[in-house]
Amino acid sequence: MNDIVFANAGALGAPQVIFVSLAAVVTLLCLRALTRVMRLALSRSVSQVLDGSIVVLFLLFIVLIIVRFTTIG
């Protein structure tokens, strides 16, 4: 699998890759909203990991979309 992905950088723009990153971003965003609205007590470190993951995954999602645009657009 790794060989297939890294054999061609353009493969990062495959629909499956983008869909998984989108699903990850959406899931984490929903989780964050749920914890805040329900006032669930999260430790500071867990909150930071959650926020950091959202930011990183969202940026990754954008990068993957740019890869997709440049490879097949």
Binding site: I18, L22, L29, A33, M38
Partner: protein, 606 residues
């Protein structure tokens, strides 16, 4: 005899208490008379307004007067104001549907064709048209058509504008209620929205549905979150220093994570609403190219102005919109990515393609276009005055009115971007414009203009205010009547034209082509994969159009009144250009197969 009515306290209520309602009722009667007397076939170059008699204008004035009377009454009676706003909407958005024999705009018929395809095949047609890359609205309509037992969506086309405009009223009421303006300014803002929305995007289309989504999302956000009270800077620092200090807070971490907004809603309610808004965002991402991005900008504006407590919503809708663009709509952009990104940052050329290129055509058309520009400019000028006059706790309205303009920097949207941007800003600009007349007098953010105190001249002041409201709303409503129906000479269709199109569909075979001299016919509602429709587009002269059509050799050519009016009004062709073309076609192997007062069908001779 004096007609009086006694209220619960036994106090006499003179008939003038019902004057607003009476004027509204009289307006409705006059509207019915106007619609009954209007003769569609006598429509001239100015479009709809050319067939409206005096009862329409007197009736409209009655409704506006009734609204102004009720608006300044104490106590405010929401039921009556609601009824008068509905009447105003019927005047401005229902008149064309009532007078014109078939639905307006070719696009609405084309959309019916898309829906027909989904009904027959169970899926959208990839690669056929850009709009099919965002098929959510069409799929929903196909379900609706099947659910109602209709054979196609044509039955929904004609009255759709008034139906969807009245659907907008619910979120508009919520926005007005929770936007921080007074109740009276809220009602006036709604009336101004209806009186100035000349942008014909409420025809049967995904964008009309998505505009409802857009309003609902913003209404829910404004209703859920209120601005947390901020520590005010010391008064001695002066107004501008205080404003600069508050503006700096825009980009603080607290603001960006939504901590500066507060809600009184419970956790379950909030999470339920957030879930629904996420679903609406998903539906919007799949059904329209532009609206989800306008939604993201509007939500970001709410976040920065302390009216959104959950920044996740902004990111969620942005991710869904980008996700659909990259995955679901790849048929649209593969091979021609410049369609999406070609106009990024080219604000000047976007404005040129959106405004300057539209100011052309015959003097009648030019007048209509110029009134549109003036009308929009006047509303935004009034909104600017409202911004200067009002006191408030949050500048959310200003941000919501300004945020859509960022879209112009990103997309020209086929020369329609500015129109759409104005539409997205319109509800908030209308509320700001209402604040120019009825500004809020309290709030932590002070107005920039001094308060006007009427004092002992309250009686005269109230009458003056009433006259100002009547003047402003009536002037906008009259201008909108003229410009909204200003394209109807070619954008609306007669029964003869529809009959000609039906005749053409009935007499072509699979693989044949129907030729048009331009786009303006009720066509495209069926057989989208088997019967091609060809129009030469902007070919320069009508002689070129004839040549291109003869080269394309369509089986049938339809010539009609609407096509001719478009050529004369917008392109500047001479009167009778279509008759000349008809002669050309007849001399080159076509014969007249069928004829109506407003349309002729030419068929190629075997």
């Amino acid at each position: 005899m004096t007609i009086v009515r006694r209220d619960l306290n036994g106090e006499p209520q003179p008939i003038r208490n019902f004057l607003g309602l009476f004027l509204g009722f009289a307006g409705l009667v006059l509207w019915l008379v106007a619609v009954h007397n209007a003769d569609y076939l006598k429509m001239g170059a100015y479009g709809l307004v050319s067939v409206l008699g005096w009862p329409y204008f007197v009736g409209l004035a009655f409704v506006v007067m009734g609204f102004a009377i009720e608006l300044l009454r104490t106590p405010l009676r929401s039921g009556r104001l609601f009824a008068l706003v509905v009447l105003l909407a019927i005047f401005l958005y229902g008149t064309a549907s009532a007078i014109e024999p078939v639905a307006q705009l070719t696009d609405s018929w084309v959309h019916a064709g898309f829906i027909q395809y989904i009904i027959q095949n169970g899926h959208p047609l990839n690669g056929y048209d850009a709009r099919f890359s965002w098929p959510g609205g069409f799929s929903l309509s196909a379900i609706l058509v099947a659910f109602t037992g209709q054979a196609n969506a044509i039955a929904f086309l004609r009255w759709f504008p008034i139906f969807i405009e009245l659907s907008y009223l619910a979120p508009l009421l919520v926005i007005a209620r929770f936007s921080g303006v007074s109740r009276r300014a809220g009602w006036l803002g709604i009336a101004l929205y209806y009186a100035t929305n000349w942008i014909f995007q409420d025809y049967f289309s995904p964008q009309a549905l998505n505009y409802l989504f857009y309003l609902v999302v913003i209404a829910a956000v404004l209703a859920c979150w209120q601005p947390r009270r901020l520590d005010r800077a010391a008064p001695e620092r002066g107004y501008w220093k205080e404003r600069v200090a508050q503006s700096r807070a825009l980009m603080t971490h607290s603001r960006l994570v939504g901590n500066d907004a507060t809600t009184t809603w419970g956790s379950v309610e909030t999470i339920s609403v957030l879930g629904l808004l996420g679903l609406i965002g998903l539906a919007s991402a799949m059904s329209h190219q532009l609206t989800p991005y306008a939604m993201v900008l509007a939500l970001a504006a709410c976040l920065l102005t302390r009216r959104l407590g959950r920044p996740e919503l902004v990111l969620l809708i942005a991710a869904l919109a980008l996700g659909w663009l990259s995955l679901g709509a790849s048929n649209y952009w593969v091979g021609h990515l410049n369609v999406i990104f070609g106009s990024v940052g080219q604000v000047s050329s976007t404005l040129t393609s959106n405004v300057t290129s539209r100011v052309s055509g015959a003097p009648t058309h030019l007048l209509v276009v110029e009134i549109r520009i003036l009308l929009t400019g006047a509303l935004f000028f009034l909104a600017g005055v409202g911004f200067l006059r009002r006191y408030t706790d949050s500048r959310a309205l200003e941000a919501l009115a300004g945020a859509p303009f960022l879209l112009v920097a990103a997309q020209s949207y086929g020369g329609e971007g500015l129109l759409r941007v104005v539409l997205f800003a319109l509800p908030f600009a209308s509320l700001l414009a209402a604040s120019a007349i009825l500004p809020s007098q309290s709030g932590t953010i002070r107005g920039l203009l001094p308060k006007v105190s009427i004092g002992r001249f309250a009686g005269i002041g109230r009458m003056t205010l009433r006259l100002i409201i009547i003047g402003v709303v009536l002037a906008f409503a009259l201008a909108t009547t003229i410009v909204r129906g200003g394209n109807d000479a070619y954008a609306s269709f007669s029964r003869g034209e529809l009959a000609a199109v039906n005749y053409a569909y009935a007499h072509v075979h699979s693989g044949d082509t129907i030729g048009l001299v331009n786009y303006y016919l009720p066509i495209g509602q069926r057989d989208i994969t088997t019967v091609a429709v060809y129009d030469p587009g902007s070919a320069g002269s009508y002689q070129n159009i004839g040549q291109l059509l003869l080269q394309a050799k369509p089986t049938i050519i339809i010539l009609s009144q609407s096509e001719e009016a478009y050529g004369e009004e917008v392109v500047g062709f001479p009167v009778g250009w279509e008759a000349t073309l008809e002669t050309t076609f007849v001399n080159h192997g076509y014969r007249i197969a069928a004829h109506w007062n407003t349309a002729t069908v030419l068929k190629v001779s075997v």
